[in-house]
Symmetry: C2
Subunit: 159 residues, 2 copies
DNA sequence: TGTTGTCTATCTATCGATAGGTAGACGCTT
DNA sequence: AAGCGTCTACCTATCGATAGATAGACAACA
């Protein structure tokens, strides 16, 4: 799943294959099929784990006394700068119209829970949408322009 | 190129094929190769045309007396709601790390010219980054959640 | 002994790309 | 006007590579 996550975050859904992630971890593609019968199931499982971990990380930031928006911003920043990759749900969501229901619903879950969490913390619904959009978009921009510092610059106005 | 643009906006770079777009327009894949020798060249050409058209559309909005940010917002809105698809450069940019230099540079061009245009109009560089990121992110969010109205809600704060 | 996990081997379908050929439109020269 | 080359835009056929997926054998372990 680690290998799959990395590949998906770099290439999107249609860009990764069983053979590649099998090679990454040193097994054969048939062995990956043993654990995840289809590509959809694998992607859905990876997306679910990613979302759960992401929200946990936000909670951890909040526990450290961070402001809610700054907490989200910090977790996105780490995802971009430590991993050097896009947000998994951003990478999948960009081709959302081409995903199967199962995978698409997991990606949806990331955004829906994100909006929930931000509104629970007191933000208006439109503000929650704006924060999530800006963070996801800044990550994309920084990635395209190959300059991680652009994430901070593009999200400075949120703080 | 129309067919290719639509496919790329729905499925990203690795998700579209010569055969598919050939079938879309009623020819064979070899005929597409005649006009575009490689997949990279085709994607790069489509991205360049998309960027040029996009910037022209912004200029057209500006000529109508629209505020610069509102002009950009309006063009993004049309791209989302009329076409019902992601921004081409957003769809390609999400898997930016996996694109060839040629295609990647065309996607970069979209963002660089966008930032240029916004700063020329008087915005601070960080503000320009923020606007572009928020628009691109709001488009992604609206697409994933299958609700075009979320674009307006998520970008209301820009106006 | 039964379960779990991985293997080898193979299937069908599709990928991007190329080779070689053809029909028709156009311009130039005789 | 007739003939000749050239160009465009497609075609059929095929290439090697790779995709996702499956069946069945084998080894380790409880």
């Amino acid at each position: 799943m680690d290998a799959a996550e990395e590949r998906i975050r770099r290439t999107g859904y249609s860009g990764f294959s069983f053979r590649e992630i099998a090679a990454d971890v040193g097994v054969k593609s048939a062995s990956v099929h043993y654990h995840f019968p289809t590509k959809e199931k694998l992607a859905a499982a990876v997306a679910r784990r990613y979302t759960d971990r992401f929200l946990e990380a936000v909670d951890h930031q909040l526990a450290g006394g961070e402001d809610i928006v700054e907490a989200w911003r910090q977790v996105f920043r780490v995802a971009l700068q430590r991993d050097g990759r896009m947000c998994l749900c951003g990478a999948l969501g960009a081709t959302s119209q081409d995903l199967s229901r199962e995978v698409r619903d997991e990606v949806k879950r990331f955004f829906l829970l994100g909006i929930d969490k931000l509104t629970m913390a007191g933000l208006a619904r439109n503000s929650a949408l704006h924060v999530l959009a800006a963070l996801e978009g800044a990550m994309l921009t920084a990635n395209v322009l190959e300059d991680p510092s652009l994430f901070d610059k593009g999200t400075a106005a949120l703080a």
